[in-house]
Structures are given as C-alpha cells and as structure tokens.
Assembly symmetry: C2
Homo-oligomer: 502 residues x 2
Amino acid sequence: MTATTTLVILGASGDLARGKLVPSLFNLYCKRRLPDGIQVVGLSRTPYSDDAYRDMSWQDVSAHPHLKARESDWRGFAANLHYVSGNVGGSGGLDALARRLAEFEAGSTGANRVFYLALAPQLYEPAVTAIETAGLHEGAGGYRRLVIEKPFGWDLDSARAINAALHRVFSEDEVFRIDHYLGKETVQNILVFRFANAIFEPIWNRNYVDSVQITVAEKVGVGDRSFYYDRSGVTRDMVQNHLLQLLAMVAMEPPSSADPETLRNKKVEVLKAIRRYDSREAIRNSAAGQYEGYVDGDGVQPDSNTATFIASRHFIDNWRWQGVPFYLRTGKAMARKVSEIVIQFRTAPHTMFTLPPGQWLQPNVLALCVQPDEGARLRFEVKTPDEEMAIQPVDMEFEYRAAFPDRMIPEAYERLLQDALEGDASLFIRNDQIEEAWRVVDPMIAGWEGADAPRVELYRRGSWGPQVSERLIASTGHRWLQVCGTHADIRASQLAAPGGRR
Amino acid sequence: MTATTTLVILGASGDLARGKLVPSLFNLYCKRRLPDGIQVVGLSRTPYSDDAYRDMSWQDVSAHPHLKARESDWRGFAANLHYVSGNVGGSGGLDALARRLAEFEAGSTGANRVFYLALAPQLYEPAVTAIETAGLHEGAGGYRRLVIEKPFGWDLDSARAINAALHRVFSEDEVFRIDHYLGKETVQNILVFRFANAIFEPIWNRNYVDSVQITVAEKVGVGDRSFYYDRSGVTRDMVQNHLLQLLAMVAMEPPSSADPETLRNKKVEVLKAIRRYDSREAIRNSAAGQYEGYVDGDGVQPDSNTATFIASRHFIDNWRWQGVPFYLRTGKAMARKVSEIVIQFRTAPHTMFTLPPGQWLQPNVLALCVQPDEGARLRFEVKTPDEEMAIQPVDMEFEYRAAFPDRMIPEAYERLLQDALEGDASLFIRNDQIEEAWRVVDPMIAGWEGADAPRVELYRRGSWGPQVSERLIASTGHRWLQVCGTHADIRASQLAAPGGRR
C-alpha cells in the first residue's frame, strides 16, 4: 500500500499539453524522475478513449524534436496515461474525472493530486470552481497542487482578483505559477553564476556596474496569436513576467539559502525597490514599437496602437543599485532570436597607457547568454599584438553546449513539472511577485494605452526595433549591446563613448 | 644632413645574434620600424667580408621558422648590414670598429650608437672597457646605449660589481638590460589586463585572492648548456630574472603612467616588499629537484647537487598581499612547455546551495597564459545541466591566436630592439630591480649551495618535478594547478579542498 499521485492536465488537447507537457513527462519517465506509481490524466472537452489519447500522445512525443522516443519506454509510460472528457465550464463538468480519481485512489494510503491548468486564462476561475464543485480539492491524506501559467491577470487589479479566486480553494503554498523562463537551465544558472562564484559579487553593485541591459528578442511575429496579442501587447506578454523575473535574478541581494521562501523574498524585495513611475514618467522612460505588417494579422484592429516591441529604463532605489540604469527591451519580428543579460561595468578610473589619439579604454562587459547560445562572455581589453601600445576589446567565452556535449539541456517544462511534483516552489512565482511586477508595468500600460497615448513607432521586421529605442538609451549615454552568439567585430558594434555617463 | 644611427652587435657569430637579433632586425625593417638610415654592424673575432656576413645572415633569416623572408626586402636591408672583425679581449680590439663608425658618421649631424653585447657574461666588463678604450662611448651629438642580456651577475655582490663597471662608462639611463620575457606580448599584456580593465583590480588583493602560482616549465633539458648550467642552476637561470619579473607585474601597485621610471619604480617597490628569508627559511620555503640523467651531461659533476627544478613560496609584506602565498616553480625536462600565472581566488563566503554530499564550491581561478598558448582563462562555477542542483567548474577562454588570426605574435626581441633604438626603457631592467631580485634569491642559493645543503630530489623527465614540490605547496593547503592550454577534465585535476586555508 502506497500513496497515489495523479497529475491531471486540464486542456489536454491544447498545444501546451501536447507539445510540451506530455513530452516532458515522458522524458522524466525515461530518466526515472517521476514519482512511483504516478497516474497522468488528460482532460478536455473532446471525447477520446484512453487508447486514442495514447496514440495521439505517442505521435506528439515521436514528433518532438528533442526527444529520442523509444517505443519500449513509451509502453511503460502509456500504461499510466489516461484520458477523461470533461468541461470546466459546464455543471458537473469534472464528475467523470472525480470517478476516475476515486478508482486510482481506492485503498491507497494517501491521494496526491496535481491539477495543471493548460487552459486559456479566462478558464482559470471556472476551472478552480469546477475542481471545488467536484470536491477534488479535498480528500483523505495527500497533497493538492494547482499549476497555472502566465498571463497572471491583465493588470494589478485583475491579478489580485485571480489570486483571490485561487485562494478560495487553494492556499498560496499549493499554487505553482509557472513562468517557464525560470525553468531554463541558463536562467537558473544566473543564481549559480552570481552566488557560487566569489569574484563577481564584489563588483556587482553601483561602484563598478555602469548599467544593465536585458534583451529578449524574438525573430517570429505574433503569428496566429494576433487576436489575443492585439488585446494584450508586449508589456503584458513579456515584460511583466519574463523580463522582470530576469531583472530580479540579476539584481537581487544574496539569499542565505535556496529555500523557496527565502529566494522568493529576495526577488520580491528587489521588485519592490524598482522606482515607481506615473504614466507620464513611464512614457518618458520607455519606447514602444510595432513591426510593419502587424495590423494585417487576423483580428488586429486596422489602426491598432498595440506595441510589439518595448524598451524601458528602470532604476532600483536601494543601496546596491542607486543610479544604475536597467534597460529592458523585448519584441517580436526582430533581427535574431536571443535572450541575454549584459552587465556593462564602469571603465577603469585612470588610464596609465598612452593610447593613440581618438582611442579610449572600453568598459568591461559581462554577458549571460540565456538562449539560444547558452553560455557567458566576458569582454575585456587586451593589447593588440605587434603594436607598441594599442588596446582593444576581446571576448572570453564559455559555451554550455561545448562544455557539456553529452548532456542535453532539458526543456524548461521538465524541470518545472518535476519540481511541482516534488513540491519545490523555488522556480514558481509567488502571488506577491506577480503583484509587484504589475505595479511596475501598470503605469507603462496606462501610458501607452491611455486616451492621449503617443503612437507606437513602426519598425522594420528583422530590425532591432524602432529608432526611439536607440534614442531612449542614448539619452542616458548608452547603446544597445548584443554580445551573445555573435563573433562580429567588436569594434564595429561599439560601446558608448566616455562622457556619456549617468 | 641627418643623424646617423649605428647598431653594433658584439658577438655577431653567436647563436643569439644569428638566431634572434638579425632576423628580428630584418623583420623590423620589413615593417618599416627601423630608424631611417640605420647601419647594422656585426662584430666578432672571426674575419668575414661584408658579403660573406650578409650571405651567412641571409641563410639565418631564410631558415627562421617565423619569417617569410623575401629576397627583395633582404637586399634593401643587407645594403646597410656590415661586418667588422674585432676582439673585445685584445688591446686595440675595437680599432677597426672605430674606423668603420667614423666612416658612417662622417658629416652627419649626430652619431647615435647602440652597442648590443651578445656575448658571454664574463665578456661584459672587457667589452665595456674596450668600448671606452676605443673612445666609442663619446662623440659629438647623438646618444650612446648599451644593451646587455641576463645573467646579470652571479649574486648580489657580483651584480653590483657589474653595474659599477657599466656605470664607469655608461650612465644608468644608457643601459638597457634585457629580460626577453618582458618583450613577450602576453607578458606586456599582464599590465593591460590588470590596468585597462576595471573589473579585476577591485578583487586583486588579499581580500579576494587566496594564492598565486607562477609556473615556467620547459620540456627540454639543459642540452648543450650543461657545463654552464651546472655552475649556475635553475634559481640563477630562471627565478632571479623571469619568475620574479612576472611576480612583480602581477603584484605591483597600479602605476600612474607607463612612463619607464614610474613603471619600474612600482616593480622595485614590490620586489622590495617580498619577505626576506635567511638561508634556513629559504630551504623551508622551497623544494629543489634534478631530473634523472642530468649528471650525464658534458661538464656536469658526477655528484652534482645542482637544481634543474625549483619551487618556492614567497610572501609580500604589504597591505595588498599580506598573507597571500605566491608560489613559483620552474624547471627543465618537465611534462610540458608552459608559462602561466594562476590567480586562485577565495571561495564564496557562504554557500546558498544545497550541494550533494562530498561536494563543495570550487574557488575561481584566473590564468594568464604566457606561452605557448597565449591567452587567458577564467574558471568559474556553473550549474551542471539537467541536474537538480549540481555545480561544477568550467573555463571561460580567450585565445590570442584565435582572436587575431591575421597578426603574428612577434618575437620578443623585435619589440625590445625597437624599444632600445627608440630609447624606451619600460621593458628593460633597471639596476635596482636586478639588485632587489638578487636579495630575494641569494638566500635560496645560499641554502641550496651551502656546505650543509640538503640533496636535491631526483625527478622523472617529463614529470611536473619532484615530490617535495607537491609537499611544499600542500603544506600551505594548495595544489599546483595547470590551467592553460589544456582541455582535460577540470574535476580530475582538482583544486585544494576547503579547510586548506592559510
């Protein structure tokens, strides 16, 4: 007699469930990382037999680019994969699920249930209500967990309403909010980089850091999400979650332990310290763009002023970061797919070298490369060979894939599903993190969506965004840097000239 | 009418002149870096005609592995290459040279003369006397310079005697003492690395640095230098000059300018701050070895106790470095040819991560790779991919040759000859540097050459030296690291366990 663990995927016929969750679960199974005797139940409105669902899932798994799916493994996994039809919006919509769970749990010493809402956000509240109505949130022994995905609301008020709704049925420590960025190896590595190495922390502050840039650029446009996207925009879609999470990890104080609450307290602290703008200040400290052709998408208003690109400048009002600009930028239809964090250090306080006229020392730059070329780069000055005294920047490089050729960097969802099943909430977002993040972006949204909002500037597909983005960062003496995954001549994409100091 | 510049190479038929000096001068000529109208005069006892000397030199130049010698360039260079027979030991030995110089200088507005003593050290004093006797040290207008090579004496007293002899004829600012190590690009780059980058200096001190290792290992044995070597030994041959020069560049305070006197003052300061041992302390802080088969060399005493390997531990008694051990090691017939400086940092003061049992954080290591794989490496901790929380060290790498594929890293002598001709003494050793370096090594030599000196320990050719070397460094809690030019598994050649702290 043991405890039963059941993972229910609500929204089993959707892209997330089929493209990410089932393949990740299968991979965890192959690595023997799933709890013993776990049952996985897919649920959606469409009726399928267990076998039809298994066949469909096998096809999804075998088509997955990063999986070497073996049929023998699959048979073991599929034996515990089930399907139940249900409708979270209808009355008694989860009754069939309740009966199936009762079968699994009959005679077990405890019944653990994890509900993964792979659903459209407007179904979060109905789903939680349906779980409650069917009595699935209570039972003898075992834990209940609810896993949900961004977007966590529309603004601070709606986020609070959602949190309140979740908390009617689940306590905060039962809620696992996924920002899948946090499941990425290289995002987790930010903490290791900062706090397992002794040499970075001493210079990780306003005395040595000149500015920080966080770029999350996508090459694709909004694609078939255009209807949703036009009502959401880039700030809600990317800044409120991914970019502010990255910022928190870069800027946070050292936690005393990796205990989830300690870690998340430190993140909330730094989010709280981000300077609050009113909507006019938010406009002045940001630059919005829309790629050409965006309005041709299905469901997009022909005169849409929705931003598909945004750059913003933030300040963190604490001892460590006072006066250091944090520049964020993210957009669709940009030149490259790249996510990177660039720490630009101050230049040496004094130049002992006599440099040729027109040359000056360049600042050190540290880049943490999140994707797609995971790794790190340190830009530093060296003597140009065979010149009496010429100095130029070069990059010291580390590439994750080259260093670990035998280890596949896993899908973020693998780690997150495993953590949710193990109850480790470190990589999940706590309600106060959500709310603080909304407090930061609400004025930006208000500024750019208000009645007297400026027009967003059009930018060419495949560019680095609109011209206003360059002017925004230039106005505080900097330039956008793109360091990761490129071996272009460093001089060519040069840094800010001295004098352009904060 | 212009000034005449003549470079006289005394010892023109020797290995240094033929293998290094003439090829380097020719290369400078091809790069248009020689002074206009320079005359180069080779001098040795053997009589040659100018043409015979030119033919011999052309053969040397074309055989030079790093030169793409073109005959058309050669003709231009050779037109100003001359030969004079002379004997610095004989009376009137430089009379022919004096006549030749008078021809060159006839009617010129000033006569610059550079004397390069490519001679055995015991001929330095006779050569200077011969120059004086022939009246070549004085003349109307122009400068006189004397270039000499290590060894600069035998101990502090003999070094002082040599300096006194030189100073009878040349003032200190006319004397250019070559430690060819300082002409190497990557040695010059140590200063650029430290003082053109803002991020290293803040952690370049006892608060963050745990220990420093400097290794200069040679794969070859003493070869045909065995007679000389047996009377000299590794400490005079390598430590007194190369290793202490590297130490000075790593440990010096930031100079306010690259002005030669400022720079050399800073080097002398740090050499002066090296803790002085008596001969017993020197023995206790060093480990000497002799490779197997060394005594079979020509002219080696059969019971020779000459060290071909020495490792030593030093402390620098100043605010920056108090308590930080500096480990030096150098030897012949070792596993690899490699020169590197390894800065081992202290480990992070606190580990927020829960590591698997038996694992601990490894310290950061920065390696400056001097030769043969010029570059830099930074060893730092990253998350092991696809593990919940495992951390392991990896290297961020920079390779000079990969970064500058089109630029040949020049022969050290090129730079040094050019500097001597231009009068830039930055890379040359001032008399007080020599004397301070002897003060450091004299007790080591006294200890290992004294009547009650311990026997040096034999070591296998192709090893990393004797076992006592490992014990020496282990006694202060460290291990020898070899970081440059190797991609071996980092875990395998692991660092010291924690607890082994100073």
